[in-house]
Symmetry: C2
Subunit: 238 residues, 2 copies
Amino acid sequence: MVCEPFHADFTGRLTLSMLGNHLLNCTEQHATARGFGMSNFNDESYTWVLSRLAIEFDALPQRYETFEIDTWVEKVYRLFTDRNYAIRNAEGKTIGYGRSTWALIGIQSRKPVDLTSLHNGLLLDYTCPEQPCPIDKPERIKVTAEQPECSIVAKYSDIDINGHVNSIRYISHVLDLFSLDFYREHPLRRFEIAYVTESYCGDVLDFFVDHADPTHCQVEVRQRKDATVVCRCKLVFQ
Amino acid sequence: MVCEPFHADFTGRLTLSMLGNHLLNCTEQHATARGFGMSNFNDESYTWVLSRLAIEFDALPQRYETFEIDTWVEKVYRLFTDRNYAIRNAEGKTIGYGRSTWALIGIQSRKPVDLTSLHNGLLLDYTCPEQPCPIDKPERIKVTAEQPECSIVAKYSDIDINGHVNSIRYISHVLDLFSLDFYREHPLRRFEIAYVTESYCGDVLDFFVDHADPTHCQVEVRQRKDATVVCRCKLVFQ
């Protein structure tokens, strides 16, 4: 695919949220081709839920630059599966990697499905545990800030077909916590997000931020109404 | 192209801002193939500036649905050119049309170029004035509201490579003025935007809204600091 000019940020490089979209679309295509995609399951009332996503990169593609995404299943647990990504530039050089964790849940029951027995265990046949993904696995994120640094109200553009705030929109809102000057001095090199609960249109979301040092930052997004944690992020800057 | 699931809104249909992105990308490809694209000009220090955009549609593509965009130049004036779009579904049925007006400006001078003499008038050879675009041309938009209905601060995700708020982001922010319940009762059928001045990261933007009746709405976006008008929009709902 190509980094379309309107998908680039102020530096002229692909935005991380657009890369996140591409990773999710790539996941969907890869899974659908094997009979495990959302479109395969929706009739059966199942949906994949993204639990964690970590992306680490040297530099994202520039405007008009072509790139490709390779994806593979690293491991299948009973209730979760780990899927990895490699992002390659036009010369085939890997410029970034991603790690994600997914659960398959019943749309009505909201309960996770046993992945090891799904389709008679066929998902296990698609694992490529030997393919390298040389970035750290996501770690537990703990935020200690007691006052929110910023708040938003979830609106129309945030909401997906399930009525929830779209998983990628949290990434955009977290990236909006930093100034252009900060990005100029400290380009982002790694972004991790762990999704905890859903949020809905009209919800007030508070962003609690720990700035451990200029290059490491942790964010916890909470519901204003009951302080429920919605997601947690970790950002590593250069 | 396909309506990717993460490009759909809560109704499961392509978001208008994503359609806007597609129209702009389509413009760029069409222009580049004829030697008039941004990528052809950037070395020569020119850039196309979108002045107006109007999109009218029956229903936007649903998730996983394929669609295509056809574009053509309707007319070339001295300082502006009118470009139209037809959006067709997988069966080739036209589901929407677009009209846009563009100027080509010098990146340093910020002054518009005479389009009739550009490349020895070659642009005139590409006009297709006879191709039908059966939607109304954009009209002058006049907003009378005296108090803003909502305000935002322009942030990282809003900003493009020129350091301005991305033209598509204004569409997203305007769409965010309405609730999901309102969209359920009154699906959007037409969106017009006229760009007046640029805004920048950190700018506080006020949204003044006239609700003429439930199905017609006009919005003026102004800079908080000096009340400069940034853009004006007109929305027609069903």
